[in-house]
Subunit: 324 residues, 2 copies
C-alpha cells in the first residue's frame, strides 16, 4: 500500500500550476517580497502603520453567486482604509488565501482580482500564500485575509487625540454593506432571493450585497491636505458607535443624527426582523467613513454633516439623536 | 419575529470580551499598529522584506489533541525564518485567527501563545484580527495565519545570486516536521495512535508531531556575521528540492546527500506506505535550514555538511546523491 499527498487531499502539482499562473499574470514588477523604501530616509520620524483583516462571510456569498470579481477590491480597500484613517500612505499589501481544495481557475481569478485592486490604488502586492486545507475548510469553501503596511510621519499620525468640543462630524457614503454583517445577511435572506431584481434597490439583491467595499484613499488624502482633520474612523465591524468611539477622547461625546435617506437595503433588513439597534451595531448604515474636523474647516463635495462633538461626563463616546 | 446577529452564529459580546482579554494580556507596549522605525533613517538603502503564511492543518491536530501551546511558536517562527533567510531583521508581526465560533478561552490561549513567541524573539506584535465565520469553518475548526515585516540593506540581501561552483552546502537540524505535510500525516495515522508512547521516538507520536517549528533567527544572525554565506533556504512546503531550487542560480546544481541518521518519524511514515520520493517533496527530512557558503568559510557547531555546488546543463537545480 502506498499513501501519497494527493490521498490526503493536497495536490502538489496543482499548487505548482497555480504558482506559475500567478507569476505569469503578475510579472515580477508588481510581485515579490522585497520593497525598497529609500523614501523613508527622507522622513523626519517614520512610523510604520499596519493592519491585517478578512472580509468575513462575504466570500461565501460571492462563491455561492459565482461573482468573485469584487472580492479583491473588498479585501484590498478594507485594509487600505484601515491604515489611511491614521494618515498613513500605503507601501505594500499581502494576501492569504486558504481553500478546501485548490482549483487553479478559482485561485487565479481571486489573485487577479486582488492584483488589479492593488494596481488601481498604486499599492505593491508584495506577496501571498495559497493554502490547501481539506480538513479545516468545508468542501467548496475558502477564506481570504490581507495585510497592509504603510508609513506616516510620527507627528502627522491621525488618532483622534486632537478632537475637541465643537468639532463637526462629517460622513462619506458607503458603497454598500462593505464587508461586515454578512453572516446576518445570509441568515435573513434565502438563496432563492439573491437573483431577483428588486425595485427599491434598482438591481438584484445579490448585486447590491456584492457591491465592493469602497476605497477612501483619495478622499482621505484630499481631506488631510485641505482641512483641519482631528480624527478619522473607518466604519467596519461594530458599526458607527464601535468605530467612532475609539477615536473620541475622554470627556467628550460625538452626538450625531443619521441622515434621513438611509439606503433601502436597511429598510429591507428591518422589514425582515432585524431591530434598528442591532443593525446599528453591525452595519455601517450607509456611512463608510467619518471625519471629525475643526468647525472652521470646509469639507465639501460628497461630505455631509452628521453632528458635533460635545462635553460629556458619561462613559459613552457616541450618542444618536434619533433613536430608531 | 426578530433576527439578531447571534442568530447567525456571530456573537458581538463574545468578540468584545475577547478583545478586552487580549488587550489586558498584551498591554499597550507590545500591541498596536504603530511601529516607530527611526533606525530606518540610518540605513543607506532600506528594503522592507515581508512574508505571509499559515501553518496548515497542524492547527487541526493541535486542536484535536488539545495541545495548543506550540502553535504561537509555529506561526511566528515559520514567518520569521522566511524573512531571516534573506538577511532581514524582523520589525513586527501580525496574526489572523478565524474560527467557526469564538470561544474566549481558546482565542486568549492562541493569542497568548503568539504574543509570547513574539516577545521571546524580540519582535513586536503589531496587530491582529479575530474573525467568527460559522458558515465557512466547520464546527470546532479554526485557521491561523501570520504576516511579518523586516528590513535589510539593499546590498546585504541574501538571495542566492552569489552562489558559485565549489560552494559547500550546510544544514541545520529541524525540531520536527515543523509546519508542513500535516494533511498527509493525519491521513496516515489514526486518532487513536497519537497518545501512545513510541519507543523509537522516545515520546508519544502526538508530542513528536506537535513539536513547535524551530526558530533559526540566532543561527542565521551568527552565520551571516561569521561566515561568507551566499544563500539560505528555509525548508518548508516543497521540501529540500522545492526550497533550495529557488536560490540556486542558472547553470549550477546543488548535489547533496541526506545524512544517514534520518529522524525516526520518517521511517515510521515510510513503514506506513509513504514512498521516499513523495516524502522528500513534502517534508523537511530533518533539515530545517540550508546554507550555501564559500568553501573557505567555517560554520561549525550544529551545522553539518550536505554536499557541494557543481556546474550543470540540466534544468534541475537540486540532485540527491542517494536515491532512496
Amino acid at each position: 500500500m502506498s499513501i501519497r499527498y494527493a490521498d490526503a487531499g493536497v495536490h502538489l502539482e496543482v499548487a505548482e500550476q497555480v504558482t506559475e499562473r500567478i507569476a505569469n499574470r503578475l510579472g515580477s514588477a508588481l510581485f515579490g517580497g522585497f520593497v525598497p523604501v529609500p523614501e523613508l530616509k527622507t522622513y523626519r520620524s517614520p512610523v510604520l502603520v499596519s493592519s491585517i483583516d478578512g472580509i468575513g462571510t462575504k466570500v461565501k456569498l460571492a462563491a455561492q453567486l459565482n461573482a468573485l470579481d469584487g472580492l479583491g477590491q473588498d479585501i484590498v480597500h478594507h485594509c487600505l482604509n484601515d491604515i489611511a484613517v491614521h494618515g498613513a500612505r500605503p507601501l505594500f499589501f499581502m494576501d492569504y488565501l486558504a481553500f478546501h481544495s485548490l482549483e487553479p481557475d478559482l485561485v487565479e481569478h481571486l489573485v487577479a482580482s486582488i492584483a488589479s485592486a492593488c494596481e488601481a490604488q498604486g499599492v505593491r502586492l508584495a506577496g501571498g500564500e495559497t493554502a490547501e486545507m481539506p480538513s479545516v475548510y468545508a468542501p467548496g469553501h475558502f477564506d481570504i485575509a490581507g495585510a497592509v503596511v504603510g508609513v506616516v510621519e510620527s507627528d502627522e499620525i491621525v488618532d483622534g487625540t486632537a478632537i475637541r468640543e465643537g468639532d463637526v462630524i462629517l460622513g462619506l457614503p458607503a458603497s454598500g454593506l462593505h464587508t461586515n454583517g454578512y453572516s446576518l445577511v445570509q441568515r435573513v435572506f434565502s438563496a432563492a432571493e439573491y437573483a431577483t431584481y428588486d425595485l427599491v434597490l434598482g438591481r438584484s439583491l445579490g448585486d447590491e450585497l456584492l457591491e465592493p467595499h469602497r476605497c477612501y484613499l483619495d478622499p482621505i488624502r484630499e481631506a488631510l491636505a485641505g482641512a483641519n482633520v482631528h480624527g478619522l474612523a473607518h466604519i467596519t465591524g461594530g458599526g458607527i458607535e464601535g468605530n467612532l468611539s475609539r477615536i473620541v477622547p475622554d470627556g467628550l461625546v460625538a452626538e450625531l443624527t443619521l441622515p434621513p435617506d438611509l439606503p433601502p437595503i436597511y429598510t429591507l433588513l428591518h422589514g425582515r426582523g432585524v431591530p434598528w439597534n442591532e443593525m446599528r451595531e453591525v452595519f455601517n448604515m450607509g456611512i463608510g467613513l467619518i471625519a471629525v474636523c475643526d468647525p472652521q474647516t470646509s469639507l465639501s463635495g460628497e461630505w455631509f454633516e452628521l453632528g458635533t462633538i460635545s462635553k460629556s461626563t458619561s462613559e459613552r463616546r457616541v450618542r444618536f439623536g434619533d433613536d430608531r
